[in-house]
Amino acid sequence: MKKILALPAVVLATSVLLAACGNNETASDKQAGTSAAQSETQTSTETADAADQEATGSEYTTAVDGYRSFAIEQIDEFVKQTEKFTDAVKAGDLETAKSLYAPARMYYERIEPVAEALGDLDPNIDARDGDVEAADWRGFHRIEKALWEDKTTEGMTEFADTLLSDAKLLRAKVETMDIDASLMVTGAVELLNEVSSSKVTGEEERYSHTDLYDFAANVEGAREIYNLLKDDLAAKDKDLNQQIAERFDALEKELAPFKDGDGYVSYEKLKDEDVRKLSQNLDALAEPLSNMGQVLGV
């Protein structure tokens, strides 16, 4: 769950237009004192380029379509697994509920930027204690606290029902959602930023300590986006593409020792040194990944 909610789609669209204008480098770019006024001038004098850039943007239709089906597939599975989880909660089956919690969340964590773009759904599903007003707190982490800290499913029926209906609402809304290459590119970076700011620190799953499930899912979600765009990226910047691929591999290699069966070990098993290495490998990947948008012109 992100504290700053994603921009509405209309702002995203505007920034795509603006971004396209900045593509032609000018000498003033290097000057320390470049003022906002200057960049506005650039924008207005270079609007001709915007049309070209939009045409370029449409070349990513395959990737965008690919991502839409990926997101739908994940959300379908998310709804299914969430239902199993909430059934267990409602049945008062504490152990089963605990075992279904983290795996169900992974489907959500892989496509989190999509949910974030849909406004209130993300906080409703994924807010942590303190992210929202106490009276509004619901979703996975509310139930997580009951299962692990209070060690009971008591009083959770209503939260379980709301969680499932929020998940279903997400599934319904995604059909009509505007997905474009820009959302994908910023989404990939956001997924890694999520890991960097809350998963690698063990703050996301403070009761269940299943942070590494979220960690892995966020990285998988970012990799999916990269995989869909990598041929286009390679055509424009071979070195950057190779660097990103290598650093995904390096990060996955760093995470591999913490796999445990189908899941991951508890965050509490990590040593300080492990956390630091994971974090550094993540930063090393996120840096080149954040340049993908500029190279692709989205």
């Binding site: 603006l18 003033s28 770019d29 000057q31 320390a32 960049s39 660097q243 989205v298």
Partner: protein, 424 residues
């Protein structure tokens, strides 16, 4: 490179700046040949004052025979960082050095890093917090630690023989979190934000090649607070650096600071060896000791900085002088006497004070000295001095060494070359 960038690189010094520089260099030459120690110290003092107090916004050249930041008169602030290299190959390391060089030259000139600083659809190549600020006499000084020569990059045969982790000194309480590093960068500037900006951007550029191992920020009194440019005081209240060799004396610098071609290895000729110690001061304990004890600890008067028994800071140090009861006026265990020894070992100290919040365990201040010294040879200069001090220095009651590292700082690089190009 754009026309504007070329212009700014070639931008001539203003007349005012040029006059000041000639004045300083001329004074140095004149006094360097003189040999009278009183005059030399006077010369150093004047040049310090001239450099640091009247040209605070100046850009110092990044390229040159030697790296800047070694004999450069100390700026107001330091941001020091040690890195561990994670890159797999010598090629990767070389690429890092080249990228660091381009960014460093830009930062020293007060320019933005990279090409994309107004492009909307990409993260800016410069993080921006130094935009519009003066160059602030920024220097970036790079070195390599002994661990870089362990075989990862095929450099085993090129390790300087004296580049080894320092031996354990009596009383060391080293914490691994403040020790070692494959690489170091010492950034000094007259503005803390400008200095921090440099370390932050170098760490960012290093991602995937090297990671931060430890960092320490430091300060001394600013030029604004001390327009006369006197010797700075450490956090124990005493002047620190009075006995430093005269950096305007080129012959003396070749003898004490710069590695010479004959010293070997060849890639270090014109470079210098750096010793770094993070020395925590037990300020709470110090503050409870009498002025008499404090002065006896340093061997100097607190107020004037003069050696005990003298009145002027730069008065010659008479180690033989005895008081009426036959005791040496400058005590046998004083910092001054032990640091000086027989005078045969000299180092160039370039230390800063640090304050890093609280020691959570005791609630006391974690404050002290980021000791940095440059020398031509660690084994014959820093180590014997530190051995003497560690064994007997009365100051040890009030200090504890928590961090330690050594680095071989490259010779300077030329425009078109890169840092470390003599090594790799």
């Amino acid at each position: 490179m754009t026309e504007q960038k070329k212009d700014s690189l070639k931008k001539p010094l203003s007349r005012r700046e040029m006059l000041k520089l000639t004045g300083v260099a001329g004074l140095g030459l004149l006094l360097g040949g003189g040999g009278a120690s009183g005059l030399m110290t006077l010369g150093r003092k004047s040049s310090l004052a001239a450099m640091s107090e009247t040209t605070p916004d100046k850009a110092l050249p990044f390229y040159g025979k030697h790296q800047a930041g070694i004999i450069t008169p100390a700026q107001d602030f330091i941001c020091f960082a040690a890195f561990d290299v994670t890159a797999g190959s010598a090629d990767d390391l070389r690429r890092l050095f080249k990228n660091w060089t381009a960014a460093s030259a830009a930062m020293a000139a007060g320019e933005m890093i990279g090409e994309h600083n107004t492009t909307l659809n990409t993260p800016p190549t410069d993080t921006g917090e130094a935009a519009g600020l003066t160059p602030s006499r920024t220097t970036l000084t790079f070195g390599v630690g002994p661990s870089l020569f362990d075989g990862r990059f095929g450099l085993q045969g090129r390790k300087p023989k004296g580049l080894r982790d320092l031996p354990a000194f009596a009383g060391d309480a080293l914490d691994p979190q403040w020790c070692g590093g494959d690489l170091c960068v010492q950034v000094c500037a007259d503005d803390m934000q400008v200095a921090f900006h440099a370390i932050r951007n170098l760490a960012r550029i290093a991602r995937g090649h090297a990671v931060l191992r430890w960092t320490q920020e430091g300060f001394q009194r600013t030029g604004r607070a001390d327009p006369a440019g006197g010797t700075p005081r450490n956090l124990l209240g005493f002047k620190d650096g009075t006995g430093n060799p005269d950096t305007t004396d080129a012959v003396l610098m070749d003898q004490t600071v710069w590695a010479q071609p004959a010293d070997g290895p060849g890639w270090m000729a014109g470079g210098s060896y750096m010793a770094v110690r993070r020395v925590r001061m037990r300020v709470e304990v110090w503050d409870r000791s009498t002025l008499k004890d404090q002065e006896a600890t340093f061997g100097r008067h607190r107020d004037s900085g003069a050696p005990l028994g003298s009145s002027g800071e730069f008065d010659p140090v008479d180690l033989k002088a005895k008081s009426s009861d036959g005791q040496p006026i400058i005590p046998a265990t004083s910092h001054l006497r032990l640091a000086k020894g027989d005078g045969s070992q000299q180092i160039l100290r370039r230390s800063y004070s640090y304050s890093s919040g609280l020691d959570a365990k005791t609630g006391q201040l974690d404050a002290g000295l980021l000791f940095i010294s440059y020398q031509r040879d660690l084994e014959n200069q820093f180590i014997p001095i530190q051995k003497r001090l560690a064994k007997n220095d009365k100051l040890n009651e009030y200090t504890v060494h928590t961090g330690s590292a050594v680095f071989a700082c490259f010779p300077g690089s030329t425009n078109g070359g890169y840092i470390g190009d003599t090594l790799i």
